[in-house]
């Protein structure tokens, strides 16, 4: 029987020290009322990497990951690198790309590499799916590197998402394979409502997103767990995006899950680093929970009508049959 595919390790880089929205907001002219609303929604700290390019953020996260990996893993064993992101900022001028810089820095020579973003904060789950599918190929090299990077620039109006989240800058990296596993990956599942493809800046969309996002998220989690009935729901830890605490409490209530199963601390501590949240949360809490034998569900919501979720199972205990659509 083929060995399962899973996560070997994960690491991230959030530049500088955590910044307190209370202090920063006052300096940047944010209304006190808004700061209080953010704090009520569980937000407090974020990271600002204005002086870093996306490339330097990604390279730093991979350097940190590489230090943690078993020494026997070689750069030439990486068969695929997938970069996922939400924002379009700070991409190097062509023909250079983030991945080109990454390959040059670490001497990676994968079979191929790609950068995806149109699924916004759900893009990283598509990157994970591509990684899993690549590793299922019997001729594939043994490891896949998934990297993420996201950042914003500019004033408070861009740093703060309504009253539900504060944007952080950063990058993250995770290595997938069949050896040295810390988890077993279940294939991700997606929900598409592409009528929202123009995003929240279009007036009608904004209202529709607010009305449907929580319900679509809850439905997707329910469908995913129904598809994989052997996942232990009682012990499941839910890792959300690091924003919208109120919304996430509603989602868990809809799913009839206690709030204690939601990992919300990083909404307070890290801020919403978009596509990076998946790996940041996995690194901060997910891997430790997997070590304790708890399955971990990660979720990515975009404001373009796409959502993605994925479960990591503990490598010991009941093995879950991995079903996949399509």
């Amino acid at each position: 029987m083929k060995k399962p595919i899973g996560i070997i390790d994960a690491e991230y880089f959030l530049p500088g020290d955590a910044i307190d929205i209370s202090t920063w907001g006052r300096v940047h002219g944010v209304e006190q009322k808004r700061i209080e609303a953010l704090k009520r929604n569980g937000c407090r700290y974020f990271y600002d990497g204005t002086d870093y390019s996306d490339s330097s953020l990604v390279n730093e996260s991979v350097a940190r990951l590489w230090k943690k990996l078993p020494k026997s893993i070689k750069v030439e064993e990486i068969g695929l690198i997938v970069h996922a992101r939400t924002q379009v900022f700070s991409i190097p001028a062509p023909p250079i790309s983030i991945l080109q810089n990454l390959k040059n820095t670490f001497q990676f020579q994968p079979d191929f590499d790609m950068s995806i973003c149109q699924l916004a904060c759900a893009s990283v789950y598509k990157a994970m799916e591509i990684g899993i599918r690549y590793l299922e190929n019997p001729d594939a090299r043994p490891y896949v590197l998934v990297v993420t990077s996201d950042r914003v620039f500019g004033s408070a109006s861009h740093r703060i998402r309504q009253s539900g989240g504060i944007q952080s800058d950063g990058a993250a990296a995770v290595l997938l394979g069949r050896k040295f596993l810390k988890s077993i990956l279940v294939a991700p599942k997606f929900y598409f409502d592409s009528r929202l493809h123009r995003g929240p800046l279009y007036e009608d969309n904004s209202k529709l997103i607010a009305q449907t996002c929580w319900r679509d998220s809850a439905n997707l989690i329910k469908e995913y767990l129904d598809l994989h009935p052997s996942i232990d729901k009682e012990r499941l830890k839910v890792l959300p995006i690091n924003a919208d605490l109120t919304l996430w409490k509603i989602i868990l209530k809809t799913l009839k899950m206690p709030e204690s199963q939601l990992f919300s601390e990083n909404i307070y501590r890290r801020g919403h680093a978009c596509s990076n949240d998946f790996i940041i949360n996995l690194s901060d809490i997910g891997l430790a929970n997997l070590e304790k034998g708890n399955p971990v569900l990660s979720f990515g919501q975009s404001n373009l009508g796409v959502q993605g979720c994925l479960v990591n199972l503990p490598k010991t205990g009941k093995f879950c049959e991995v079903k996949r659509e399509g």
């Binding site: 790309s97 080109q100 040059n104 020579q109 950068s115 149109q118 699924l119 598509k126 690549y134």
Partner: protein
């Protein structure tokens, strides 16, 4: 890297500006480009972000939607077809609208995926992705689109002039279609890791020419026609000077269509009035990645 593809080209379309009508859309740089610009602007370009409000009176992404919507009435595009979009980079428009817009326009039920920062080799990457990860899909829709704004177009113009283009390719795995339509038989990948030489792109084109020449000598001996990306002649010379085999090389087109260039080359071969049935289409990105596609026409075409 070599991959057996065997996908029939059920439909191929590529369009450049002369064929695109006007519409009131105005293209702008991505949101907050000015702040991000210090990491994104070409380092050798002097420009003031405040004056970089380049605009055009059409939107290639919208043109692609409209064309695909119209074409879908006559093409066998199943709702569960896998759609992969690719484009040169991210500078021309907020990508999300483009790719998910196609998903919406065609009312697709399956996933859609977009690959960017591809240089000009989006089609090669898309086919590699299909071959590595979606081998069981019966059909796949590949779309490409690039729209250029200053200063990027200007920046690259000493190497080649890029032009706005879009295109799509409907591919099918069925054996029946492989007998009726031209087929992408094989894809070969070239990778040039060292891009740091001071002599610019000459070494890249030289190495690619050697690679392509060996491919023609040892693996693709029966190829009769060669069509490639329309780079300027001194770069093309680095490639074609290496060939010691008598193959018909089609002269370069006038502008480089970015990711759409490969589709334009395929189109050129399919519409070629000749009994030559087997061609090698090559595509090279200045990022150092290149592809060679072996394409074969059925006898009746």
């Amino acid at each position: 890297m070599k991959a057996e593809i065997n996908l029939a080209i059920v439909h191929n379309e590529s369009r450049s500006p002369s064929k695109i009508g006007n519409n009131p859309a105005t293209i702008h740089y991505p949101y907050l480009f000015e702040e991000a610009g210090k990491f994104s602007r070409p380092s050798d370009i002097e420009c003031n972000p405040k004056t970089m409000n380049s605009s055009k009176n059409y939107d290639i992404g919208d043109e692609l939607f409209k064309d695909l919507e119209k074409a879908s009435q006559n093409l066998p595009i199943d709702k569960d077809i896998r759609h992969i979009h690719s484009q040169y980079t991210v500078i021309d428009r907020f990508l999300s609208s483009r790719c998910l817009g196609i998903h919406h326009t065609l009312k697709l039920e399956s996933d859609t995926l977009c690959v960017d920062q591809c240089g000009t080799v989006g089609l090669g990457r898309s086919l590699q992705l299909v071959n590595s990860c979606y081998k069981n899909d019966k059909a796949v829709l590949l779309t490409c689109a690039d729209q250029w704004l200053e200063p990027y177009q200007r920046n690259i113009s000493d190497t080649v002039g890029y032009c706005d283009s879009y295109g799509y390719l409907l591919l099918n795995r069925s054996e029946l279609d492989q007998k009726r339509y031209p087929v992408i038989r094989r894809v070969h990948r070239f990778s040039h890791s060292d891009m740091s030489e001071p002599e610019g792109y000459h070494k890249l084109f030289n190495d690619f020419g050697c690679w392509l020449s060996n491919l023609l000598k040892y693996e693709c001996q029966d190829v009769q026609v060669i069509i490639g990306d329309p780079y300027q002649s001194d770069y093309l010379g680095k490639i074609y000077d290496k060939f010691d085999k008598e193959s018909e090389v089609i002269p370069p087109r006038k502008g480089h269509e970015g990711t759409v260039a490969t589709l334009a080359s395929i189109q050129e071969f399919i519409s070629l009035k000749s009994d030559k049935r087997k061609s090698l289409i090559w595509s090279l990105s200045l990022s150092g990645e290149g592809y060679a596609f072996v394409i074969e026409k059925p006898k009746e075409i």
